[in-house]
């Protein structure tokens, strides 16, 4: 059994490798887009004018309260019903990026609000503009605060990418199921896929640690 699993794995290497590539691309794109969007969401939540704040608050609460699966289905089916016809890959990345942005937005809000008000006031007193205050005073401190939770969110996005198999994106889980349907080796191939997901998430975790070390206050 073991020998034939290795044979089957070798035979299935190309589809599984492609699936891994798609999973990594989905995760990477949605984490990057979600983080960029999320930073703006966080800023709007803390510094926005009241109407802006209300709208953005509504957005984050609505998105965070919706299962990712519903977001995935909505961006695939509902958008096409109103004339925006996205492919499964695009629709999936959009849904995950939106989901990611609401979580990152909350992380950024929490991190920014944890910085004492006196610092913003001090920055104003020495004549920094808002952009400068964020870039030199608040941003670096907020980054340190938000990083551990951000790693968590990024790992969640990798796991959420498996939901795109429902709308037919050939990511790692779907590719694994395809191989299983041919080889009838479910346990072996699911374990293998689990191992690959672990490797991706371990990579993200190491990356987070690396950035944490780089941005740590020298003591």
């Amino acid at each position: 059994m073991d020998v034939s699993f290795i044979d089957q794995l070798w035979l299935a290497r190309i589809p599984l490798f492609k699936g891994l590539g798609i999973s990594v691309s989905i995760s990477f794109l949605s984490i990057v887009a979600g983080t960029v969007l999320g930073v703006f969401v966080g800023l709007a939540l803390v510094y926005g004018y009241r109407p802006v704040r209300w709208i953005v608050r509504g957005y984050t609460d609505f998105i965070r309260g919706t299962p990712v699966l519903v977001l995935v289905l909505a961006s695939y089916y509902v958008l096409s019903a109103i004339g925006i016809d996205l492919g499964p890959f695009q629709a999936g990345v959009l849904a995950l990026a939106v989901f990611c942005s609401s979580h990152v937005g909350e992380l950024v809000r929490g991190a920014l609000q944890s910085i004492p008000k006196g610092q913003t006031e001090a920055a104003k007193a020495i004549g920094l503009t808002f952009a400068q205050t964020f870039a030199y005073v608040l941003g670096p401190q907020a980054l340190r605060q938000a990083l551990p939770a951000w790693v968590n969110t990024a790992a969640e996005m990798v796991k959420a990418s498996t939901l795109l198999s429902i709308i037919g994106v050939g990511e790692l889980l779907l590719r694994t199921q395809e191989v299983i349907s041919r080889t009838f080796m479910s346990l072996e191939f699911y374990f293998f896929a689990g191992f690959l997901y672990f490797v991706i998430n371990y990579g993200i975790e190491r990356f987070g640690r690396y950035v944490e070390r780089k941005t740590a206050v020298p003591s």
């Binding site: 519903v70 299983i180 349907s181």
Partner: protein, 280 residues
């Protein structure tokens, strides 16, 4: 997962219901497909022998061949297909939202579904069967039934699994397993005396492991498989029906029979020449 999906699909359906229906087009899907130059077929990729990937990563199976029959009728070329890979749960939404021209994905015909999509004529009748080891203790269904409570049947985990087996073997012990490979393994290792699942799956497994297993010769729980198209386009439905019908009774019979032999391991008798078989 399924119930979560059902809820999600319900939500999506509710949103869609609130939107104005697409303006009815004057021309049929048939014209649209012809001018596009290829068929967009919705099917899955994870169920042998219906729709699954070969070792070369090419989509194949009986459902896929039904699509090829339709493509051949449209363009004279069975390869002119663009596949939309979908999960079983996405079959109906992808038809109703127009993501696919047609779905052929072992879809069981039910009254409930027929209200949402238009079914073509059937292309296969599924049922549950029992698979035995070729050199095992029991020779056929009668022997299993006579043995009463001393036989154990391996079956896929399901709410109805117990009732399903008991409909055929009222006294048999039922062992439920997580996945198809495990029910076969239970039979192979002797933990079960027979494996009960869809006859198509059994037929495929028996063609893959020729000589090691045999069919107990009894089938129950009939289900009809048909392709589905969007409701309200009789022209397109008629075309697809004609293509499938002629594959089972007319000029494309050899194509259908070859596919049947490949995936289910059985030779079909050609339709009798003379009076049309449909009216017998």
């Amino acid at each position: 997962m399924i119930s979560k999906f059902t809820a999600a699909a319900g939500f999506v359906a509710a949103v869609l219901a609130g939107m104005p229906a697409h303006a009815q087009q004057a021309s049929s899907k048939l014209d649209e497909v012809l001018s596009r130059g290829h068929l967009i077929l919705g099917t899955g990729s994870t169920n042998a022998p219906w729709h699954f990937k070969s070792a070369e990563d090419k989509l194949q199976g009986f459902d896929v061949d039904m699509g090829r029959i339709i493509a051949k009728a449209l363009f004279g070329d069975p390869e002119k297909i663009e596949f939309v890979n979908q999960s079983s749960d996405a079959r109906i939404p992808n038809i109703t939202t127009g993501k696919v021209d047609i779905t052929c994905q072992f879809m069981t015909v039910t009254g409930e579904r027929a209200q949402q999509v238009a079914f073509t004529i059937p292309y296969y009748r599924e049922g549950v069967g029992l698979m035995l080891k070729a050199d095992g203790k029991y020779g056929d269904y009668e022997a299993l039934k006579a043995a009463g409570s001393s036989v154990t049947i391996s079956v896929l985990q399901n709410v109805y699994a117990e009732d399903m087996v008991h409909a055929a073997l009222p006294e048999a012990a039922v062992d439920q397993y997580e996945s198809v490979d495990l029910i076969y393994q239970a039979l192979e290792s002797g933990r079960a005396d027979a494996a009960a699942t869809d006859q198509s799956s059994l037929a495929w497994y028996m063609t893959q492991n020729s000589g090691r297993y045999k069919d107990a010769g009894y089938g129950w729980n009939p289900q009809t498989y048909a392709c589905g198209v969007r409701r309200g386009d009789q022209d397109w439905l008629n075309f697809v029906n004609t293509a499938l019908h002629e594959a089972m009774t007319g000029v494309e019979f050899d194509f259908y029979a070859k596919s049947f032999k490949t995936w289910f391991g059985k030779d079909l008798t050609p339709p009798e020449i003379g009076f049309p078989v449909e009216y017998k």
